[in-house]
Symmetry: C2
Subunit: 385 residues, 2 copies
């Protein structure tokens, strides 16, 4: 096992009817900016529940944070706060709204060009405004970590950042608020959480048996509950399990003491900015293809995954690995998520641009061994066809 | 799944050679009281490593905190701090030293009789001194939670307390410092962690699939690594897995959203104060006996445990439950830990006193359904013979 630090001070408030508890978490004298996305929270009752919980406080709104939140949009919120003097932020939404509020929280007190925050992957942050979240979409895990991914439309860049000051003070997770989500968003969320686990699990063994068991526990639960979340959209326990899985998939727990990959994410980010493909769909395409190209380097873990998650024990090693990759693609397909570029009418014509952009964003040594070069990324992308 | 709150701000610093990192965690101007137990830290290099990391700070010592730390001993540290003006505590030891420092941290600023802190199970605490820990014995999980168990020798009482102000600010977990532990302490630690998991897992199902998987992951890892920790005492990964298991067994994660039992612990506490039996040994005696008496109420989880941890799938339900209980006793015995009162030359003569003491300590409605009465506790104790 590798040495590690684990620190995660976010308070989770989980369960039905818990939105009202934000009243106890945000100071009474706070000047709150409530941020949200496309406005579904105004139709499903979440906005009203939040407003009711915050009654008595000054609350302004900033809506319209888009999927893959952009620097351009978020800077408008930064300017609004600098004018309005808000001192507490509340993100009500999914990963994009929460990622967005993290950038806003860091950018408001930042002296200098706020894009430097993203360019430095967060290293230049000195302090951030406090913020909480009300999660409406289980997927990204952003509600219990200190990372974010921000898109710069002008630069065609989608880049990650992280900083110790960017943990939410609290996050409210009420599984019932997910009942009204469109199936496509639930499916994307399951895939997103599943691939988050894989980026921290499917590397090489370092004797970290408990982290492996926890990762496999997340995968088994996502495999069991993901399809049920689509067929039984108002099954509370299914939605609760999915929500807690998505949070614990990326809160630092299963990555403690183990190597991490993240090449699938970095290649997928370029696919999203170039083609507009949903984040989760890029992951469902790249992950199995990457495994096929990297099966020798990931052999031990692929075999362990085959046995413990899919109960594949028959056949030689290559046959078991092939079967595990096939079962993974079938799982994504069972959620109506395509696993090939052709499923989205994309061809090899996009590959050179993706490879060029990886180079432009310094993504030239990806993966757990830093050996996924642009050439190897190209081979992986050809495997996605 | 039940509604829950999860909050755990303890920073974990894990791995070989990490004791030096406490220098970055304790303020330079702090006046530190270093607390420890029997003094083994002065023979195995841990004390020197801590002193070296703290050089430049005022550091006083308070040694001699005993297993099952007593109010009487701890109050001497409280008086020492009130005289000396220490403002940061550092516990260097196992669960007893860490539990002890939690009581000290709460008692120093407490206005009134400090025993009220324990009598109220922590409810009367208003604030606590900050403290960190250097863990030397993986077992109790106290290094990453806000609970403690304190013994009052004069009152023959061993009682639990907890408070949000009692999370360690940081805990250093270096698996190498456990190499020199006597085998009996390692064995006790494995049993302690195993039964901590069981108190949160072996109840009744509430559809919390991920919590179940995480609990099973802890159990499987303890079953794999526990015996190896005895036969391969300097296998780093084995000791690392054991240490991380013991911490995550009782940090609030696997109890989130599920019912908890803890009857085994409460009965075991009385056994320790009456007979001087090691804490873990009381648990190894009571747990299987409690399951035998409560197998109808715990049927679903016992069957799940049988299948997922011991791969027991043959036979009817009762046969599988019996086999799982038998395997559990064998596991404890493989660690040289007895599972019957007679293994410690104890007879039924002790049972009436234990039952009386449970009544005296208001432990009259134990278990996940609060239906373990003193009469039922007596039946469980007879099953321990």
């Amino acid at each position: 096992m590798k040495n590690f630090k684990f620190y995660n001070p976010t308070k989770i408030i989980f369960g039905e009817g818990t939105i009202k508890e934000i009243a106890g978490e945000i100071p009474r004298e706070a000047r709150v900016l409530l941020t949200y996305g496309g406005g579904s929270i105004k139709r499903n009752g979440v906005f009203d529940a939040v407003q009711s919980a915050l009654s008595g406080r000054t609350v302004d709104e900033f809506g319209g944070i888009e999927p893959n939140p952009t620097y351009e949009t978020l800077m408008r919120a930064v300017e609004m706060i600098r004018r309005g003097g808000h001192d507490y932020l509340l993100a009500v939404g999914g990963g994009s709204v929460i990622d967005g509020v993290k950038f806003i929280a860091a950018a408001v007190p930042y002296e200098g060009d706020p894009w430097e925050i993203v360019q430095s992957y967060g290293a230049k942050i000195k302090k951030s405004l406090p913020f909480g979240t009300v999660l409406t979409l289980p997927a990204s895990g952003s509600e219990m970590n200190n990372g974010a991914v921000i898109t710069n439309r002008a630069l065609n860049a989608k880049l990650p950042l992280a900083h110790p000051s960017l943990f939410p003070r609290f996050s409210v997770l009420d599984p019932k608020v997910t009942y009204s989500l469109p199936p496509v968003q639930i499916a994307n969320g399951v895939v997103d959480a599943f691939v988050h686990v894989m980026e921290q699990y499917m590397t090489y063994p370092v004797g970290a048996k408990l982290q492996d068991r926890f990762a496999e526990g997340l995968l088994l639960t996502l495999v069991e509950e993901g399809p049920r979340a689509l067929t039984e959209p108002e099954n509370y326990d299914v939605r609760a399990n999915l929500m807690w899985c998505a949070t614990l998939a990326l809160n630092g727990l299963i990555s403690a003491g183990v190597p991490q990959d993240w090449a699938t994410h970095m290649i997928g980010h370029e696919m999203t900015t170039l083609c507009g493909l949903d984040h989760a769909r890029t992951l469902a395409i790249v992950l199995p293809a990457l495994w096929e190209i990297r099966s020798a380097e990931k052999k031990e873990k692929l075999l362990q995954y085959a046995e413990r998650v899919w109960e594949i024990t028959a056949g030689d090693e290559q046959a078991r690995i092939d079967a595990a990759i096939a079962r993974t693609r079938e799982f994504f397909k069972s959620l109506q998520v395509g696993t090939r570029l052709c499923d989205y009418n994309l061809t090899e014509a996009i590959i050179p641009t993706i490879v060029e952009r990886l180079k432009a964003h310094n993504m030239t040594k990806l993966g757990e061994k830093r050996d996924v070069t642009p050439e190897l990324a190209e081979a992986i992308l050809r495997q996605c066809l």
